[in-house]
């Protein structure tokens, strides 16, 4: 298993994709951090408009939570590439020659993305905080970087990013076609899930379901949701439950992948 882990880790970091995606992630979150902080800090106070404007530590937490709420597409993609890249470039043949135990292979891929996922999480947190904290501190109610709840949120954001990378690997094992996997990830994260959360959260009967969606569960782990704070209002799962739900997504997808994609003949 140790050898498989080292091998899978080397595969991840020996192409340019991991740092290219990381650069895009950082750039994107710097941009989002500035825009969000500016909109909170410089929004005109108008009590009659009914617009929700967050204040104080709430504002800081909402912004810092975008490492998950907005950034989760990146660890998902890098995780999925660990599997889909093998199929796209037919390296899966050589991979299974040196490691015929397919469950071990999948396990190694899931675990080997964790360090990369943690790095993504750290960079994402640094990008958002670096971009938004000066604005919040200088013109808003403060950056709250010593606040315990903020620090917890940031730390859990890093953890959740690593979990997203694992879920990406598991998803790749279900959809080994690289283009299809990326399209589904983009469509789901940018379109399907936000709408589903909004729609499900709008009705009493389905409100309880929305918080079990993967993105909502991840918000539950970090304990703050930009989505929720800005009008969705949907409640989040408690931290332990949310963590279990997120792990269950990874486990369920990995099991499906193990008994579909990784059971087939490799041609």
């Amino acid at each position: 298993m140790r050898a498989a882990l080292v091998a899978e880790y080397r595969k991840l970091v020996s192409t340019r994709m991991w740092w290219l995606l990381l650069l895009v992630l950082a750039g994107y979150l710097v941009f989002i951090g500035i825009v969000m902080a500016a909109s909170f800090v410089f929004a005109p106070e108008d009590p009659d408009s009914g617009q929700v404007t967050l204040h104080g530590v709430e504002a800081a937490r909402a912004i810092y939570s975008v490492t998950n709420g907005v950034g989760y597409v990146f660890p998902l993609v890098i995780g999925s590439l660990a599997i889909t890249g093998e199929f796209r470039h037919h390296t899966i043949t050589q991979t299974l020659l040196v490691e015929p135990r397919r469950g071990v292979l999948l396990g190694a891929k899931l675990l080997a993305t964790v360090p990369v996922g943690l790095l993504y999480g750290v960079v994402a947190a640094l990008a958002v905080v670096g971009a938004s904290a000066p604005l919040l501190a200088g013109w808003g109610d403060g950056a709250y970087l010593t606040d315990g709840s903020v620090l917890t949120l940031l730390a859990l954001g890093v953890l959740v990013t690593a979990l997203w990378a694992m879920i990406g690997v598991a998803f790749g094992s279900v959809v080994p076609n690289q283009v299809a996997a990326i399209v589904v990830i983009l469509a789901f994260t940018q379109f399907v899930e936000p709408i589903a959360r909004l729609a499900l959260g709008s009705f009493d009967g389905t409100e309880g379901v929305a918080k079990f969606l993967p993105g909502a569960a991840a918000d539950g782990v970090i304990g703050s949701s930009l989505f929720g704070e800005l009008g969705g209002g949907a409640e989040l799962l408690s931290r332990p439950v949310a963590l279990v739900v997120l792990l269950a997504y990874a486990a369920a997808l990995a099991l499906i992948g193990r008994f579909t994609t990784l059971r087939r003949d490799i041609a």
């Binding site: 080397r10 020996s14 037919h90 043949t93 299974l96 020659l97 040196v98």
Partner: protein, 302 residues
């Protein structure tokens, strides 16, 4: 490091069906250590499917394939038992040649130094830190071979290894495979062209339409060949008459005749006895390619 005495490979009643197609059908053969065995057959004969089953990539529909005493995948570190390069196995174009080897080294139980050593051994030292996307077909073949050799395996299975190699590379590969066999390793090499491996192999296993059509030493295969003799005489008429007298089958070839299934010595003796002047008398090889074509073509008839 590794005991170079290779394990025998055994294919026993192996079968694989894809839908209605029988890609491999009740195939049995053995590959002995200390020799190079050519695994031959036309394109689509089922060679790669057989090798994939031998290497645990594809599950057989029937029968089994063993490396030594057990299936490939049941060896604790298979890359240290069999080094394999399968056609259609690929490379990530964005990874360097050396990084490719390093990604597979841990499971072969070797370190980075061995990777560097191998990339030099296969003649890719200058390209070691270049991305594989820029490699030629021949360079990829060399890198695939280096990958197969990572664990210094006592058995080597190569699928169409000569494809894309330049003539110099083919000679190098031939010497390498001969030296492996001389060390006692088991070497199995597939090809769809007999001529490509004719000078490399000791044994041949020939399949067509997924079935075994011939397995023997190369010498025994040559025994199936019909000898041909080229003969040229300034007196074409007299030569033709001699052929008629002796009942030889002849066909014109350039300015002489090719006699089928007649040894050169017999032609020479007959011409001497008849007082016929000859300008050329030569054995035309053993026509192994013809044997190969005959063996593989006969299977196609209903």
């Amino acid at each position: 490091m590794t005991d170079p005495a290779g394990p025998p490979l055994a294919v026993e009643g192996l079968g694989k069906t894809f839908g209605a197609i029988r890609a491999v059908d009740d195939l049995s053969f053995r590959v002995r250590p200390g020799a190079v065995t050519g695994f031959l057959g036309p394109n689509g004969a089922g060679k790669t499917t057989t090798l994939r089953m031998l290497l645990g990539l594809t599950t057989p529909s029937a029968g089994r394939a063993l490396v030594g005493d057990r299936p490939y995948a049941e060896h604790p570190t298979p890359a240290r038992v069999v080094g394999a390069a399968i056609e259609s196995s690929g490379f990530h174009p964005g990874r360097t040649g050396l990084n490719h080897l390093e990604a597979y080294a841990p499971q072969a139980g070797v370190g980075r130094a061995r990777c560097r050593e191998l990339i030099e051994f296969v003649g890719l030292a200058a390209a070691a830190d270049r991305r594989v996307g820029g490699y030629s077909m021949g360079m990829r073949q060399r890198l695939a071979l280096a990958t197969a050799l990572l664990g210094d395996p006592p058995a080597i299975v190569l699928d169409e290894p000569a494809n894309g190699l330049d003539p110099e590379g083919i000679v190098w590969l031939r010497q390498l495979l001969r030296s492996f066999a001389a060390q006692g390793r088991t070497v199995l090499v597939s090809s769809h062209v007999l001529a490509e491996v004719q000078h490399t192999v000791d044994d041949v296993v020939i399949i067509a339409e997924g079935r075994l059509v011939h397995a023997s030493s190369l010498a025994e295969l040559a025994g199936l060949a019909t000898p041909e003799t080229y003969v040229e005489s300034p007196s074409g008429e007299a030569l033709a008459a001699l052929c008629r007298d002796r009942g030889w089958t002849a066909r014109p070839d350039g300015s002489g005749l090719v006699l089928v299934d007649v040894p050169a010595a017999e032609v020479g003796a007959a011409a001497y006895a008849a007082g016929l002047e000859l300008h050329q008398l030569a054995s035309r090889g053993v026509g192994l390619e013809d044997v190969f074509l005959r063996l593989t073509a006969s299977e196609r008839q209903p």
